[in-house]
């Protein structure tokens, strides 16, 4: 298929005078976990919205699996699962009903959808809570349900926008392991956006440092970076301040 799953060329997004994303060029390879690391307001979410065709770029182009996201958002959304920051569910529906609804929107048959939803709920550890109303879920459970929701359409790419915000440390660890596992087993390409240096270091193969709407550096995370504080130094070099904000 395509060598690069996600290709951004000269991507710019302006809100009035404010430039959120500035002439961004980025390629993400198939099967890798790419970390989008940067402080709040760096333009990470805006970039992700443009990848999904949820907002239009001012100039430049986004291609996901060789499909233009701006002109053919539906085809892109068939292949991409997106977990927004602080995902929400229909609160009067149970967890599994929410998943089946998403499956139905993706054109999956009801029987198949139920089987698949149960399997995914088991995978994210929510099978016991499957028939609980989504309104009663805790934040961490919601985020895990979100992951199941993303996976139910069998995507090729998953985009996670600050997926760990608001989960306790143990939950974060579990969540990160799950992502790593999924990516390896199913050959998924993962785009992981975060401002937590530690989390990015744990799971990602490659990291893009993001600041002021620009890609400041692209770093291959070798084992060296993972064990020592190589990434910290580079991060501090660009953004200054202390280590990660864990």
């Amino acid at each position: 298929m395509c060598q690069y799953v996600i290709e951004l060329t000269g991507l710019t997004k302006k809100y009035g005078n404010f430039t959120a994303v500035n002439d961004l060029n980025l390629q993400i390879r198939k099967g890798e976990i790419f970390g989008l690391l940067g402080p709040n307001g760096a333009g990470k979410s805006t970039t992700i919205l443009m990848m999904l065709g949820l907002t239009e770029p001012t100039t430049g182009s986004v291609k996901v699996c060789n499909i233009d996201s701006t002109t053919h958002p539906i085809d892109v959304k068939r292949k991409v699962g997106y977990l927004p920051e602080d995902v929400g569910f229909y609160e009067d529906m149970t967890g599994i009903e929410n998943l089946i609804y998403t499956a139905a929107l993706n054109g999956i048959r009801k029987k198949e959808a139920r089987a698949k939803a149960e399997q995914l709920l088991d995978r994210v550890g929510l099978l016991k809570e499957a028939d609980k109303k989504a309104g009663k879920y805790s934040k961490g459970m919601r985020q895990r349900l979100g992951l199941a929701d993303v996976l139910i359409k069998s995507p090729e790419v998953i985009i996670l926008d600050e997926p760990t915000s608001g989960i306790d440390p143990a939950g974060v660890q579990e969540f990160m392991d799950l992502i790593r596992q999924l990516s390896r087993e199913e050959g998924l390409t993962v785009l992981f956006s975060s401002h937590h240096l530690n989390q990015v270091r744990q799971v990602c193969d490659r990291v893009g440092l993001f600041g002021g709407g620009k890609l400041l550096a692209e770093i291959e995370l070798t084992d060296l970076h993972k064990t020592e504080h190589g990434l910290d130094d580079i991060y501090n070099q660009y953004f200054g301040g202390g280590r990660s904000h864990e």
Partner: protein, 334 residues
């Protein structure tokens, strides 16, 4: 954006998965079941059922006095069930014109912004569906619910009336009631679309509800006052010619017709009172020689055609506004 593509896809997919529903109908199904289970719907249906029963009761107690010897509408006894009142409680038609907006507003005011605030909007829109499916489906779902409710109430009033007065409606009377219910549906659809537009425009559901209610109040209370003021300022002198007086009357009436409720009232009155021949001022010359007899249904419909067109146009304008603003909206999570 990708309309042609979607058409190809729809036909292509239908063959492949005839067993599944189209995503659009999946959303409609879900929205309808949401509405029917919601508290607000139960409250609304109780209010409206009560008021309609009340108006039916007054109509039935006063229907005897309502029939006068030379009444051209006398032959249409059944229609009086919808229009007669003794002044203490309004008739069914007036109730609908008053409560219809409430119905439309309450089903639409949080259509989009509540999804945004719950964080479900970005999740739903990241599924492979066209963006307009969501608002179209919401509109279709709400309209289906309202339609079923209005027709149910209309038929209930007819049924009870039939039992109480024992005279069955003629085919024409029945058709007139059906058209009346259809016009009511358009009228409610206008308010529904307006409230959906505000739900896209305003982030807080409370703000959009308030904006809708403000417009409703403006048209039902203040608009008439303003028109009266304008009317006083513009009124022709006592020595003005007949022509001027008529022109002035026409002008005032047209100003009034900017209010959707006025259009609705004119349309329903003509449909439910077959003797209404014109909705504007008539000169003595025009009325001279006319026999005060009821119009056939087709002619009544012709009389109210401009009103109907106006109502539908207002509905379409609101829909177009919400469509455009929603398609270009940037969808962020919460």
């Amino acid at each position: 954006m990708g309309l042609t593509i979607s058409i190809i896809n729809i036909s292509g997919e239908d063959a492949a998965m005839s067993n599944t529903n189209h995503p659009f109908w999946v959303i409609v199904n879900k929205e309808i079941s949401d509405y029917v289970r919601s508290w607000r719907f139960i409250i609304l249906i109780v209010i409206i059922a009560l008021t309609c029963m009340g108006s039916l009761y007054t109509a039935l107690t006063n229907i005897r006095e309502a029939i006068k010897p030379n009444d051209p509408d006398g032959a249409f006894l059944f229609l009086k069930l919808f229009t007669v009142s003794d002044g203490t409680l309004p008739s069914f038609a007036v109730f609908i014109s008053f409560l219809g907006p409430l119905l439309g507003i309450s089903l639409g005011f949080d259509a989009i912004n509540s999804e945004q605030n719950k964080g479900t909007l970005s999740r739903i829109l990241s599924q492979p569906i066209h963006r307009d499916y969501l608002i179209n489906a919401k509109f279709v779902a709400a309209l289906t619910v309202i339609g079923i409710m209005l027709f149910m109430l209309g038929f209930l009033v007819m049924g009870f009336g039939l039992i109480a007065i024992g005279i069955p409606p003629t085919a024409e009377e029945f058709m007139r009631v059906i058209f009346f219910l259809l016009v009511s549906l358009f009228y409610v659809a206008f308010w529904l679309n307006l409230s959906i537009f505000f739900s896209i425009r305003f982030k807080q559901a409370a703000t959009s509800a308030l904006a809708c209610v403000a417009i409703w109040l403006f048209f039902s209370v203040f608009y008439n006052m303003i028109i009266n003021l304008v009317g006083k300022a513009l009124s022709p002198s006592a020595w003005a010619s007949d022509y001027q007086v008529i022109a002035y009357q026409r002008f005032m009436l047209n100003l009034l017709r900017f209010a959707p409720s006025e259009l609705f009232n004119e349309a329903t009155m003509t449909l439910l009172m077959p003797s209404v021949r014109s909705l504007g001022p008539l000169t003595m010359e025009q009325v001279h020689g006319a026999i005060p007899s009821p119009l056939p249904l087709g002619q009544s419909l012709l009389v109210v055609w401009p009103q109907l067109t106006g109502l539908i146009a207002a509905t379409v304008v609101c829909f177009a506004l919400s469509y455009v603003s929603f398609m270009r909206k940037e969808v962020r999570s919460r």
